[in-house]
């Protein structure tokens, strides 16, 4: 007598499960406790185990099929035993009574899990992991033909330019999750840069002949193209301003233990500058803009990206709605993103939708520089190192902690005056950080 294997009820709310894969083949001997199938609920993937030892006689559903709980999905039994006579539509004994009414009603209809299709259509669908239930057939009686599957494949294949596809293959990026910005959502080269954390193993050193030669490709090439494109299309103007950071130094010293206690992270100047920039951007909507073909987009969100150096390149994770975050949360977020970036674990959405970027070289002996705008954003803030300098205040020389800010902006849509107003406002905020409370 064959034993039924049923779709298990793995949670109180579980009503159906999807067979992800059959782990045992028909005809295979399985021991009690062996995994027969992988089943996915709305929450988790679990294995269905054999309750007795026997031969897997028959599986009733293809992989990818969704089956109600307690419904029979396979039979175990002795070798050579036939289960063809068993009406597998009926539920297991404990459920049989309850299910009888619905089973009777279902019988006149075709099994919705088994659509009419030709063997060639089934084979092609299997090879491409397509659920045939999603395809409508053009053959007699709605039969799915091979060309129906082919058409479905053409329509549903992710559109990508040949260049972007090559880059994706070179970098080993799975571009299925990348949002395309080209026509009809086609993925273009630029989409890959914003979505891809670098991976140093992709640069293969060429044979060394005195000098090291590395193929110019992959993320390096993408960065290069993006920089050239930005530098060539956006007329860059860079304003610099020296900021007295003395109050910020004090603020940091006082907040350090407080924030460490809340978030476990050490507050750095980076986050204070982040906070001040986001705060100032919010009050200067004419800086928080993008040029989109014929329209200037005024962003409602203040999403601030931070340039992070990684082996072999540079990525820009984005802190979403940075203006709405307190310093503790901001510190935690910046540290987490920085860590993920260096580990190459950034998700595509963590690098998208930036509206402004900060490039902080303060840890180096850099005073000021001319950063290149991270398109399609329109401005970028370069941060120099903080160092103590003699400064004249009210006719007296005193020693203050000074830092240079460099703001590059796209002169096509931002003029000098608003940019100057922004950097002036930012300077005042940093010099009087209590303004951040307002």
């Amino acid at each position: 007598m064959a034993t039924e294997v049923v779709m298990p009820k793995l949670g109180a709310t579980m009503e159906e499960g999807t067979i992800v894969s059959w782990l045992a083949q028909v005809g295979e001997v399985v021991e009690e406790g062996d995994a027969i199938a992988e089943v996915q609920t709305d929450k988790i993937v679990l294995e269905v185990e054999a309750e007795t030892t026997g031969v897997l006689l028959k599986t009733l559903y293809d992989e990818g099929s969704t089956v109600k709980v307690q419904e029979v999905i396979a039979y175990l039994g002795e070798e050579g035993e036939s289960v063809d006579g068993i009406d597998h539509k009926s539920f297991s004994a404990s459920q049989a009574a309850a299910a009888e009414d619905s089973a009777i009603q279902e019988r006149p209809f075709e099994n919705p899990n088994k659509k009419r299709r030709t063997p060639a259509a089934r084979k092609l669908a299997e090879a491409n992991h397509i659920d045939l239930r999603r395809i409508s057939g053009s053959g007699p009686k709605g039969r799915i033909q091979k060309n129906d599957v082919e058409n479905y494949l053409v329509e549903n294949t992710k559109k990508i330019t040949p260049l972007a596809e090559k880059i994706a293959v070179d970098l080993g990026i799975d571009y299925k999750n990348v949002t395309g910005t080209g026509s009809n959502g086609k993925i273009v080269k630029a989409d890959l840069l914003t979505s891809n954390p670098t991976n140093e193993s992709h640069v293969q050193p060429a044979i060394q002949q005195g000098e090291k030669r590395v193929p110019f490709k992959g993320i390096r090439k993408v960065i290069a193209d993006r920089m050239v494109q930005s530098a060539n299309t956006a007329p860059h103007v860079t304003l610099t301003s020296e900021v007295d950071m003395t109050n910020c130094v004090r603020l940091r010293k006082e907040l350090l233990p407080v924030i460490e206690k809340i978030s476990g992270c050490r507050l750095s100047f980076n986050e204070i500058i982040f906070k001040a920039t986001a705060h100032t951007l919010q009050r200067h909507p004419d800086i928080n803009v993008s040029l989109d073909k014929n329209e200037i987009v005024y962003h409602t969100n203040v999403n601030v990206g931070m340039a992070v150096a990684v082996p072999n390149g540079l990525v820009v994770p984005v802190v979403k709605n940075a203006n709405q975050m307190g310093l503790a949360a901001l510190t935690e977020e910046c540290k987490a993103l920085g860590k993920r970036a260096r580990e190459g674990k950034l998700l595509p959405e963590q690098m998208q939708n930036g509206t402004f970027t900060i490039s902080n070289l303060g840890m180096y002996a850099v005073d000021g520089f001319t950063p290149i705008i991270n398109q399609p954003e329109s401005a970028i803030l370069g941060v120099g190192t903080i160092k103590e300098k003699p400064v004249v205040i009210n006719g007296e020389i005193s020693i203050r902690s000074m830092m240079v800010l460099s703001l590059s902006f796209d002169h096509r849509i931002i003029d000098g005056a608003p940019a100057a107003a922004f950097i002036t406002d930012l300077k005042e905020t940093l010099e009087n950080p209590f303004k951040l409370i307002v």
Binding site: T118, P119, A120, G139
Partner: protein, 326 residues
Amino acid sequence: MREITYSEAIREAMSQEMRNNQDVFIMGEDIGVYGGAFGLTNGMIEEFGPERVRITPISEAAISGCAVGAAMTGMRPILEIQFSDFIMIAMDNIVNQAAKNRYMFGGKAKVPVVVRLPGGSGAGFAAQHSQSLEAWMTHVPGLKVVQPSNAYDAKGLMKAAIKDDNPVLFYEHKMLYPVKGEVPEEEYEIPLGKADIKKSGTDISIVATGIMVNRAMEAAAELENEGINVEVIDPRTLVPLDTETILESVKKTSRVLVVYEAVKRGGYGAEIASMIAESDAFDYLDAPIRRLGGVAAPIPYNPELEKAAVPQVNDIIKECRKLMNK
């Protein structure tokens, strides 16, 4: 190249083998001066004499027993049954003796006999002289069954049949006898069990036997104008069957039409269709395997009804359109 008829090609094959091998001889009703019912053996008695062109009484039971006995004692007889329909009378000798003896004598005896069987409809010979019963023979282990569709194949297959040490049933089609084709004068053999792709195509594989190969070729030319590209396969021998050529074609085209003149029910086309369905080519099918065969009725005497009883060019065209969902 020289063109000769289907019947001349068969005669040439027999004559060449009779010149090559003294053991080969022909026997049958009226095959001497009269040249056989279809004139196929014309002139052979003049060349080979009555010892090797043996005119027999009208008794298929007797003459088939003679042929099987002669084969077992070392000769290589070619027996003409005037109409393939009459093989019923010879059935015991062929099925119980010819097909079994090599096996039952553990290989010490062999039965190298060729039985020539003019078959098929279209000549107005009515129900007892127009049948296509080759499927009965394919059912019997120990018999080989050949069904040439043109003059070139007929000559090459006949020579292979004569040289084979097993009983070979050689089904000729009466309506093909006068059809000419290019046939080289020199000797050549076509091995039994090798199908021929008469026309290659991409959309549908038509597996046709006997005269249906010719009709399938006509249909294919018509369908070409409609943009349907048909591949025509002639198995040439039903037993042994070249499954590989058929299955490769099915994998390529994804659609199959099996066309045969015999009654569709239980005909050899059913075997071909089953063979395809069981094979790994199944996964490539993009439509059900279709068969086109004769209707389950005796062949009528009325010429119009006779045509309606077996597949014609138009029937093949219609069936192909259906297969393409057109």
